[in-house]
């Protein structure tokens, strides 16, 4: 979304309706549904500019983006490039964390063909289903989203048939009916985990949003387009048992003079039963999912 040199100047197709409504000065006919239509028109315009997940780009494209920007950022990108080779951008529509996680995770499975990991995460998905049922969610409100996620898992690791190609994974991840449903699956899982362990999450949520756990889940987790914070990441990582590394690219600098890039590993808080079976989920100090965080946005990073 910060990629300014790619913004084509669009003719005023969408905005013309807005202007005429303004000129008529007839606001009484301008209903909420019109506002929502206009909003979705703006989203569609954005959608044409950047897909849900972009193509893999060399890290140098990140450098180009900041070439006349902050020297601290340029220094940090240099440090990043020692460990990371490429970036895959995601659309900045408030769902970027979940879309990044989805693509990164499925891509890892497709490349590793780690059957044990699929079995493991399926068990966790079943636990999440029970969590939601226990919290009083009606099955029919979430089951379609769960089914679509399982379908994606089974398409990247098929057993005897050949799995889908990498290109097909990209195509699916850009298909709104797939991507939005998987995002919604993650939102249900995240919300369920937060509500199940509400005493644990309560202080973090109070610090972040000054609201109750229930209210937070209803307004900041479950609705599409609500941005993710450390609370969401912790909950999703814990619920699915998948470690996530987040690398922070911001202007903060350290006193010592040298520039370093901070990262934080979200390592699932496993219970005892889980520990025995997480052998294949990647070593704890080296999560296979690495996301680049710039204030307000997540993209996918690739190691060298």
């Amino acid at each position: 979304m910060e990629n300014q040199d790619e913004i084509p100047v669009e003719p005023e197709t969408e905005s013309s309706t807005f202007i005429s409504a303004y000129e008529d000065d007839d606001w009484s006919n301008y209903k909420d549904s019109d506002v929502m239509l206009q909003q979705s028109a703006i989203w569609e315009e954005d959608a044409a500019k950047s897909p849900f997940v972009g193509d893999k780009e060399p890290l140098s494209s990140l450098e180009a983006e900041y070439k006349s920007g902050s020297p601290i950022l340029l220094e940090k990108i240099k440090v990043l490039s020692e460990h990371y080779a490429a970036i895959r951008r995601t659309r900045g529509d408030g769902n970027c964390f979940f879309r990044s996680f989805m693509f990164s995770y499925l891509e890892h499975l497709l490349e590793s063909q780690d059957v044990a990991e699929v079995e493991r995460i399926k068990r966790n998905v079943e636990k999440c289903r029970k969590t939601l049922q226990g919290l009083g969610y009606a099955d029919f409100t979430f089951e379609d989203f769960f089914a679509l996620f399982i379908e994606q898992l089974e398409s990247v690791i098929t057993g005897n048939e050949a799995p889908i190609s990498h290109d097909e994974l990209v195509v699916r991840s850009r298909d709104q009916s797939v991507s939005d449903y998987v995002v919604m699956f993650f939102r249900f899982v995240t919300s369920g985990e937060i509500r199940k362990r509400s005493e644990f999450f309560e202080p973090f949520i109070f610090g972040l949003a000054n609201s109750t756990v229930e209210q937070f889940c209803k307004t900041s987790v479950e609705p599409m387009g609500e941005e993710s914070d450390h609370v969401h990441i912790t909950a999703l990582s814990d619920a699915l048992g998948v470690p996530i590394r987040v690398v922070y690219l911001d202007r903060s600098s350290c006193d010592s003079g040298g520039v370093s890039v901070n990262h934080h590993d979200f390592v699932p808080a496993c219970d005892e039963v889980d520990k025995a079976s997480t052998s294949s989920s990647g070593s704890e100090t080296n999560p296979f999912i690495v996301l680049l965080y710039r204030p307000g946005h997540y993209d996918i990073l690739y190691r060298k």
């Binding site: 929502m36 969610y137 409100t141 979430f142 939102r187 919300s191 209803k218």
Partner: protein, 157 residues
């Protein structure tokens, strides 16, 4: 489209199953179009809407349940968050706070809750909102009660 149809069909079955459980809400699907529903809701007790029955019209988009249904009052109602002419409802879950965890049935419950707890600071009906904001609860209640009698109760005789 297919996904929304399947979801609405599940809601339809659930509504049939729960018919007896929630007597304040009567949710009916259009005979020929599963994307059109109407609901009859009872005005909550100890409110100026008590004794009234209010009709709601649902129009469900093809992207449901990722996008919220459009709901409006068909019965005239004097309430700060309902447009007096169009019946349009100002409620966060019908807009940016929508999520697929909601159902048509639970939307009805949320609207009943809104009837009992108006939010005069985000009014669609400014006259109604201003009465409450200026502290004229009695004025608000008598207006709301009058319209309940006029529009939401069966005519006597």
């Amino acid at each position: 489209m297919q996904a929304s149809r399947a979801r609405l069909f599940k809601e339809y079955k659930e509504v049939q199953r729960e018919k007896v459980a929630d007597l304040d809400i009567q949710l009916v699907c259009d005979d020929s179009n599963i994307f059109k529903w109407t609901a009859l809701i009872k005005g909550p007790s100890e409110t100026p809407y008590e004794g009234g029955v209010f009709q709601l019209a649902f129009s469900v988009p093809e992207q449901y349940p990722l996008q919220p249904p459009q709901v409006r009052f068909l019965t005239k109602i004097f309430h700060p968050n309902v447009h007096f002419k169009t019946g349009e409802i100002c409620l966060d879950i019908l807009k940016n706070a929508w999520s697929p965890a909601w159902t048509l049935q639970s939307v009805c419950r949320a609207i009943i809750a809104l009837m009992a707890h108006p939010e005069p600071d985000s009014p669609l009906n400014c006259d109604s909102g201003n009465l409450l904001r200026s502290g004229d609860v009695r004025g608000f209640q008598s207006m709301a009660k009058m319209y309940t009698r006029l529009a939401a109760m069966p005519k006597k005789g």
